[in-house]
């Protein structure tokens, strides 16, 4: 199926030697005008692309302090060079974070700095040519904007910011990426990334309600467009559509039901994800975020709860208040927005949920810190809550939990390899190779501690894992949602599981389980 080789596990992680141009190429499919125009981009390379490029670059330098400072302050110390999973997996030196930044920095120096204007050779500045633009396109679509490099950079330089700026500039000269733009366009037209129309969504949710009734004997509601619910649930559309995502959705439903929180999804804003982040476009991030505000107002909810999704949670946690706030019309006694894990964790702390961990005894779990949660947002009220809370929830749901190697978790976590708008089939080689470090860490715990499954809290991670796991010799369904574990373990009041466990009314329980 693949025309490339899956990298081999190394005996132990070492810094690879560089291999020039392994990943040279054209990059992912370029978008077409039909997808671009709604987003405010031209769709094709204009005549005066060079001026436009530099103009946009100057504009961004004046708009983002991050970009301006990062262009100047890299000391070329090389600390970041071995930190990117794409470099480790591909060995292409242009996938070293600093080299990736340098693609733009070389042009920045040539046109925006004194030294580069007069001594380009000395400081490694280059002219802007179409080749350079192509190289940008290729390599800035080999960065999942995971920020791992910035954790290790002594200057705090975040390559993701540079990547976003580069993609924004590229889009402005008609070199946008098809995958992301097509999806954003679908969000504008239909309401979610997948293009699930309201009718289909309703059908799925009704199906789930039936299933719950059958399985637990409890009327767990999966509302859509219900006005007057307590909470608006924002979750990635993948949670309605894909496996194992949907098992997570069932978990949210059970938890919220058990806590007596009425909730609904909105057909208008049926997508938590915000791909505007990937293309680095402030306007689009804001436009997409605004739907949430509108839905919350229309449905008259008191709180907004986000499902398991890394990039969605980053935008929600860090930007939503800025972009679509102030949310003074919501109940201020809850965090705005709140993560479903914060809800579940809080309830567990207060002893409001009954968990039967034994349900998950056949599993030995480990946890993949989804990088956008780990390095770009927070949960709970203290720094690092984003690490402790998911683990606490997992450990409340199952008896066997093991962490992967300390250098590959928490804020040093390795990206799954599919984030940042790269979760597309045309980048499969990159995705598989970029998954190497994560797979190695997983391999280690499967061998040493008998780990069977890995949980994640991001829709992209889950999809990416289902693709990459088989390449590395694991089972495709080893990836699970955290709330899938919760869903298995939770004992809802009045459910068949509760009766079974408590032995009350055995006959009835028996007769029901038989049919």
């Amino acid at each position: 199926m693949a025309d490339f080789e899956t990298p081999e596990f190394r005996e132990y992680p070492t810094i690879p030697l560089i291999k020039q141009d392994v990943m040279a190429g054209k990059g992912p499919f370029v978008s077409r005008a039909e997808f671009d125009t709604d987003l405010g981009y031209p769709g094709e390379l204009p005549e005066d692309w060079k001026e436009k490029t530099l103009e946009k670059m100057g504009d961004l330098l004046g708009r983002y302090r991050s970009l301006q400072v990062f262009m100047d302050s890299c000391i070329k110390c090389g600390a970041c060079t071995d930190k990117c999973h794409y470099f480790i997996g591909t060995n292409d030196p242009k996938n070293m974070p600093v080299a990736r930044q340098d693609l733009m920095r070389k042009v920045y120096r040539r046109y925006f700095t004194f030294a580069g204007k007069f001594f380009p050779k000395l400081v490694g500045a280059v002219d802007l040519t179409e080749d350079v633009l192509d190289e940008w396109y290729n390599y800035y679509h080999q960065c999942s904007e995971c920020r791992r490099c910035s954790v290790f950079c002594p200057m705090g330089i975040d390559t993701a910011e540079v990547t976003m700026a580069a993609r924004e500039i590229l889009a402005h000269v008609g070199k946008a990426q098809k995958y992301s733009n097509q999806i954003i366009q679908k969000v504008y037209k239909i309401g979610n990334n997948l293009g699930l129309p309201g009718k289909a969504l309703k059908g799925i949710l009704e199906d789930l309600e039936e299933e719950m009734e059958d399985e637990c004997g409890v009327p767990v509601k999966f509302n859509m467009d219900e006005v007057g619910c307590e909470a608006l649930l924002m979750t990635p559309s993948a949670d309605f559509f894909a496996e194992p995502h949907i098992d997570g959705l069932i978990g949210y439903g059970k938890v919220l039901h058990e806590l007596g929180i009425t909730w609904t999804v909105s057909s208008k804003a049926s997508e938590a994800a915000n791909f505007g982040l990937f293309i680095g476009s402030y306007d689009n991030i804001q436009k997409i975020s605004m739907r949430i505000r509108e839905a919350a107002i229309e449905l008259k909810v008191k709180r907004i709860i986000f499902g398991e999704c890394g990039h969605a949670w980053r935008v929600a946690y860090s930007f939503l208040n800025t972009l679509a706030g102030p949310f003074d019309f919501l109940d201020q006694s809850y965090p705005i927005p709140q993560h479903i894990l914060e809800v579940t964790y809080g309830a567990l702390q207060e002893g409001k949920l009954r968990m039967n961990k034994a349900e998950n005894d056949h599993l030995t779990m480990t946890f993949h810190d989804s990088c956008n949660v780990a390095r770009a947002s927070r949960m709970g009220d203290r720094p690092g809550g984003q690490f402790d809370i998911p683990r606490a929830v997992i450990e409340a749901s199952c008896n066997n939990y093991v962490d992967m190697d300390a250098d590959t978790i928490k804020d040093a976590t390795f990206c799954c390899g599919g984030g940042g708008g790269l979760l597309t089939d045309d980048l499969m080689e990159l995705r598989i190779k970029g998954a190497l470090p994560r797979m190695e860490a997983l391999k280690q715990v499967t061998e040493e501690s008998g780990v069977t499954n890995i949980a994640a809290i991001c829709a992209i991670c889950k999809s990416q894992f289902t693709k990459t796991l088989p390449y590395y010799g694991f089972e495709m369904d080893a990836i699970m949602s955290v709330h899938q574990l919760v869903s298995e373990a939770i004992v809802m009041t009045g459910s068949m599981q509760e009766k079974e466990l408590d032995g009350v009314d055995e006959e009835e329980a028996e007769s029901e389980s038989e049919d």
Binding site: V69, S73, C74, G78, V98, R147, N321
Partner: protein
């Protein structure tokens, strides 16, 4: 010769101050429209100060990242800091007691600085990854600093210059009362290169000095849910969109 150096050093100093100030003003003017601290990040301003101090003084991130680079880089920077403190005695008449004490130990900082620089240069030449990302200027900076250090060492430990005259010269510089400068070769080289360094600093990667403190990934407080973060042009953009309001 003295006049040339006096002029050179004065110009260099002015370039340094003006150039650096312009950059710092630029950095503080460009908005940071979104909250992008790398988490886990501190929740308070005090916490941010501690975080930045750890980075500036201990090079904490670099330590996590690469122990060898940290070793040499930190050795170089701390030594440089001590050397610069020691240099204060050329420019102030009342040297504080602490500084006098420091100078006993401090004179050897030149050597640790040189070792640090050598380590960094060796790494740049022999580690393929680092070599790949290095432009000619990256080597030249290290060499420039090594030569400054070497000439300094020569003056201090091998062929002594007339410190008294120099002190007069530098004090004179500061009061625009130009004095004669001894014309020792190491001193000439030393001062010339120092002037070059001061002139180039605002246009080079040495902008990492202010850059570190302006990086939004490190200097932002992690409180986006608690406090609404709005920057200038983002606010304009906000106003344009007539936002839906609850009825």
């Amino acid at each position: 010769m003295s006049a040339f150096y006096a002029l050179l050093l004065t110009v260099a100093f002015l370039v340094l101050i003006i150039g650096l100030s312009k950059k710092i003003i630029q950095y503080s003017r460009v908005p940071a429209p979104l909250k992008i601290p790398v988490t886990p990040a501190p929740l308070t301003k005090g916490g941010v100060a501690v975080r930045l101090a750890k980075e500036a003084i201990l090079f904490a991130a670099l330590f996590r990242s690469n122990k060898w680079t940290w070793l040499f880089g930190w050795m170089f920077h701390m030594s440089l800091f001590i050397v610069l403190l020691n240099h204060l005695r050329f420019f102030i008449t009342d040297v504080p007691v602490l500084l006098v004490l420091l100078q006993n130990v401090g004179e050897y900082a030149a050597f640790t600085m040189f070792i640090g620089l050598t380590g960094l240069l060796v790494r740049r030449i022999f580690v393929a990854r680092v070599k790949y990302i290095s432009a000619p200027s990256d080597y030249l900076w290290l060499i420039l600093l090594m030569v400054i250090t070497l000439t300094g060492i020569v003056m201090r430990f091998i062929s002594h210059t007339d410190i008294i005259a120099i002190k007069e010269f530098s004090l004179g510089l500061m009061s625009f009362n130009w004095q004669d400068l001894p014309t020792d070769f190491p001193l000439m080289v030393h001062l010339f290169l120092v002037a070059i360094l001061m002139i180039l600093l605002p246009f080079s990667k040495l902008l990492h000095i202010p850059g570190l403190f302006f990086a939004p990934t490190r200097n932002q407080v992690d409180n986006p849910r608690e406090a609404r973060h709005i920057s200038s042009w983002a606010a304009e953009l906000d106003a344009e969109k007539n936002k839906v309001q609850p009825k």
